[in-house]
């Protein structure tokens, strides 16, 4: 008798929550499809160029190296040695490091430090953000089979 009661109870429990379950599944599937789409987007062939652009307050930053060459956007796929650049954010300074196919915020004086905790990023569409300093690092992949001449 107790068994049947238990079964009835569990059945009732599930019936009551059926719509909640449907909602959960629907949202999970929705999010999963976004996740899968993103993974496909992140696919990068080794011969495609990986380019990182540093924006400050939605404008491309002017970053120069020791020779006075402008290095932003960084063509990460052509960098061999690790290099560090100190840049001025909106509120504090930050140090950006680049190496072959990777970029990271090496250090920052912002309070949250989320940007530093991200570490080295090597995938396209994976941004690094320092909201405190209004710094946004965007990484994209350029197919080498598409060329612009002019």
């Amino acid at each position: 008798m107790a068994d049947v009661e238990k079964k009835e109870k569990t059945k009732k429990f599930f019936l009551r929550h059926i719509w909640d379950f449907v909602l959960l599944v629907a949202l999970s599937l929705g999010t999963a499809s976004v996740f899968i789409a993103r993974s496909i987007n992140e696919q990068r062939k080794e011969e495609d160029a990986l380019v990182a652009t540093v924006y400050k307050n939605n404008q491309k930053m002017e970053i120069k190296d020791e020779h006075g060459k402008s290095v932003n956007p960084f063509v990460l796929s052509t960098i061999n040695d690790e290099k560090h650049f100190t840049i001025e954010g909106s509120k504090t300074d930050l140090v950006i490091a680049v190496k072959h196919n990777s970029i990271c915020v090496y250090s920052s004086n912002c309070p949250g430090q989320e940007c530093v905790h991200e570490g080295w990023v090597s995938h396209p569409n994976h941004p690094i953000i320092c909201a405190y300093n209004e710094i946004f690092i965007e990484i994209i992949s350029h197919s080498w089979e598409e060329i612009i001449v002019g």
Binding site: W19, L24, L27, T31, N58, P111, E114, I129, Y132, F136
Partner: protein
């Protein structure tokens, strides 16, 4: 109006606000890729308040807790604040709709949608701030966490709603007010 009922109501609301505030501040210490992204643990309290107190009081609790939490953590009027406020309002509205109008969902469903919309609203504000869809990168993880916390919170709320002691306490803040106004 019975003063005792009013005092009880005020006390209850204050306690709920305090609990929501504590949860808000605690969750601000959990880091994410972007600053200002919150897990939505306080939604538990807000949802409970919706069941107990209707529309304006829970909304007030929600907005107040965001304000006070942001002042305490020092992110007032920053990007994190705007994200929290929009997340709070959006999730509140949806939870209210799910509790009062769409009757097929229980507190679990309401909590799930509240947490999910909270995450979604924050991401959209982030996109607006940074002027780039790149922020969306963080959405799948946020949504997954939101779904989990939403489910857990919903179950907790359901358990609390069935707690006879709590129900008596809440009822007492309303009942006496009704009888005394006669």
């Amino acid at each position: 109006m019975d003063t005792k009922a009013r005092i009880k109501k005020l006390t209850m609301v204050a306690i709920l606000l305090a609990m929501a505030l504590v949860l808000s501040i605690v969750e601000s210490f959990i880091p994410f890729g972007i600053p200002g992204v919150k897990l939505g643990l306080a939604n538990l309290i807000i949802l409970l308040s919706i069941y107990y107190f209707g529309f304006w009081i829970p909304l007030a609790i929600d907005i107040l807790r965001v304000f006070i939490a942001s002042i305490v953590t020092g992110t007032f009027l920053g990007m994190g604040f705007v994200m929290s406020i929009s997340g709070a309002i959006a999730s509140f509205l949806l939870m209210y709709v799910f509790v009062r109008w769409i009757k097929c969902f229980t507190s679990v469903g309401a909590s799930i949608i509240g947490a999910y919309v909270h995450a979604l609203a924050q991401i959209l504000i982030g996109v607006l701030y940074m002027n780039s869809w790149g922020i969306f990168y963080y959405f799948p993880v946020m949504a997954l966490v939101a779904l989990i916390t939403g489910t857990v919170n919903g179950i907790i709320v359901e358990v609390l709603l069935n707690n006879s002691y709590l129900n008596k306490v809440v009822a007492s803040t309303k009942k006496q007010a009704e009888t005394s106004s006669n």
